[in-house]
């Protein structure tokens, strides 16, 4: 690399740093946020669990509620349940197309939501993960207003992550951060089987 090129790189990076630093200087509000991860692409639940590990790595307490899932062994649960500082609840019914029983699913969702409300009232809990909550809301297994209300009333420093496909407008309105994960390509569509350690 010529000195000239190196100088240009340095100058561009100085300008970029000024922009980044100005952004950081503007972001001064310190509080927990609501993060919604939706869309049909891969990576929503794993992102929530990755953030849980991040919070635990700083010694914070984390609450995790897995809606829908819980009928099969799950790699992240094997680890997370052994770490100190984690409260873990699992709805445990499995997919709606497996149970085929709306009444049973609804009762399980209610019980799971009661656990979530405890977490959402506890100022000791830094992060609450509500994994796959969107399905429960979209199937109307829970009263939407009850859910939104409990999230809005949570302790100021608590962050909530909601995952699942098809998040509606009211979740976008509630969210501070709203990411849509788009599946541009998915291995499953080209005939590759889901595998242990990657998909579950």
């Amino acid at each position: 690399m010529t000195d000239d090129k190196a100088e240009r790189h340095k100058s561009r990076m100085q300008q970029r740093k000024a922009l980044v630093d100005a952004g950081i200087a503007r972001a001064t509000e310190v509080r927990g946020v609501v993060i919604v991860l939706t869309g049909d692409g891969k990576g929503k639940s794993s992102s929530a669990f990755g953030t849980a590990v991040r919070a635990l790595g700083h010694g914070y307490k984390v609450g995790i509620v897995q809606f829908i899932k819980g009928t099969w062994e799950c790699g992240e649960r094997n680890i997370l349940q052994t770490l100190p500082g984690v409260e873990y609840h699992v709805m445990g019914t499995g997919f709606t197309w497996e149970t085929q029983d709306a009444e049973k699913d609804k009762a399980a969702a209610e019980a799971c939501w009661t656990e979530s409300e405890h977490l959402l009232r506890d100022p000791e809990i830094k992060l609450v993960v509500l994994d796959e909550l969107t399905y429960i809301l979209n199937y109307k297994y829970l009263d939407k207003d009850r859910v939104l209300d409990a999230i809005r009333r949570r302790p100021r420093d608590q962050t909530v992550i909601i995952t699942g496909r098809g998040a509606k407008k009211y979740l976008e309105d509630l969210a501070d951060t709203f990411s849509e994960v788009k599946a541009i390509k998915h291995a499953f569509q080209s005939g590759v089987a889901a595998q242990k350690g990657i998909e579950w």
Copy 2:
């Protein structure tokens, strides 16, 4: 819920299950895949780390290479480095706009890639995470063909996850699964500071 409504739900779920089961029956190829998580939205690296925890939870070995990052304490690293079965490498230079030194960044990227190549040759490693690799490729700090070649020649059962903004077409072509995380909203833009345990 009336019996009629419950019956209709059951019938819809039976149809859905038939579709899901047919999809599973078609996906018979068993091999590792390349997953690319790109886009400007929140959740790419945390998703890769969540998947690493998932793989570890089943007793698999995992290799993690963090490009760019590494100058500050990082929650997920605190935990992951203590778990058995993890090989962890960190480039440790920080953002390009912090170093402002292309030559130094390039040398660090080279050293980090040599570690990645070891992981990509080791059949004992189930999952290799190449966190923030897209920046290194886009800045041309590494030879693209050398990178693609090493990923293509990896052991058949090994999965690779590449994260970072601005993944190019050649990464989409290489990928089995390609997710684009779109930022519909971001708390930082509305003045909320990034916080320990959530953003790092």
